[in-house]
Amino acid sequence: MRESRLMLLQYVTALLAVALVSIHLMMQGVILPYDTAISFNNMLSIYRNAVTAVFLEALLLVVLVHGFNGLRIILYELRQTKPWTTWVDVVTVAAVIGTVAYGTRTVILAAFGVVSA
């Protein structure tokens, strides 16, 4: 893939992340008092509302793609051997898939799982 495509991805996720993270910070400490925001009941209502749950999933995806693509850039600049570059590519893709999967599991279980005390 041409590097400019990956950089475009980096810039687009950057701008999306600025928007989504701002909303996330607002939700956690500005709109509601912090203690209320992180209370179990409030969190549950966020995960069980379709709009806010999808928001969290989008936040997850955007931030992790931006973060690991950024790490890839840094690692590329660190060493320039072919095996290193291949390793960085593989680890980047695996890391994005793995972490997004783990975060998505939290969102799905929180949205649909059985609530326990």
Binding site: R2, E3, S4, L6, L78
Partner: protein
Amino acid sequence: MTDVRLLVQRFDPFKDEEPRLVEYKVPKREGMTVLDAILYARDYVDHSIALRFSCRQASCGSCGMKINGRPRLACYTQVDELAGEKVVAQPMENFAIIRDLVTDLGSFFEKHAEVVPQLVRSDLQEQEHPTSEYVMKPEELTRVLQFTYCIKCGLCTSSCPTVATDSEFPGPQALAQAYRYTADVRDEGGDGRIAILDTPHGIWRCHFAGSCSYVCPKGVDPALGIQLLKRHVMSGHAPRKAGEGSPTAKAGIPAHGPGSGSSSGG
């Protein structure tokens, strides 16, 4: 008369384990440049100091070195303009040391050559045997003019944080020259250069730290050119407006028609 405390980094990779700073006392005179001071030390104190210089007037680009922590031209830096009471001269960073203040610029010139720093025409016949003069309007010249002032001193590349670790990165000098030719209305080689630069160790390894523009002694402003080239790559458009700058030969305008009085640029 006050003395200048001149510290020169001495190092012969064939003999020495580590570089060391050697102090020389140099009688100061008005307007003395760092190059003057080093030459005094070489001429009157220690003939074995190795350095490279030629024009003594910021034109040849051979006296680049690290002076008091920052890449500068020794001939274009006066002792008086440096803060502190010492003058510390070391070889430019990120270039291999040949001896003392002399660095190996081989890969630097290779990288310059790799970005095809010359006017390219899609019609090879036309390129080798132009049918007429290529005319530039003054504003078209202005767009590339400052980038043509590069003297290939290497200061910008020495200052670049990406060059510090990425040996395949072309560096600010080469990238700025890639822009200089790609933005030239007489050139048709932009796509070829972009194919070379839109790669994992190409133009996108620049993160606009701007140190290149900060240290450039000739007002080339490499960081400006590089960001403009990024825009060009991202947008897929030529850095000039559509329809502008068709060479006279192509447009069928007589070579000495209106506007041909402007310079053909460097």
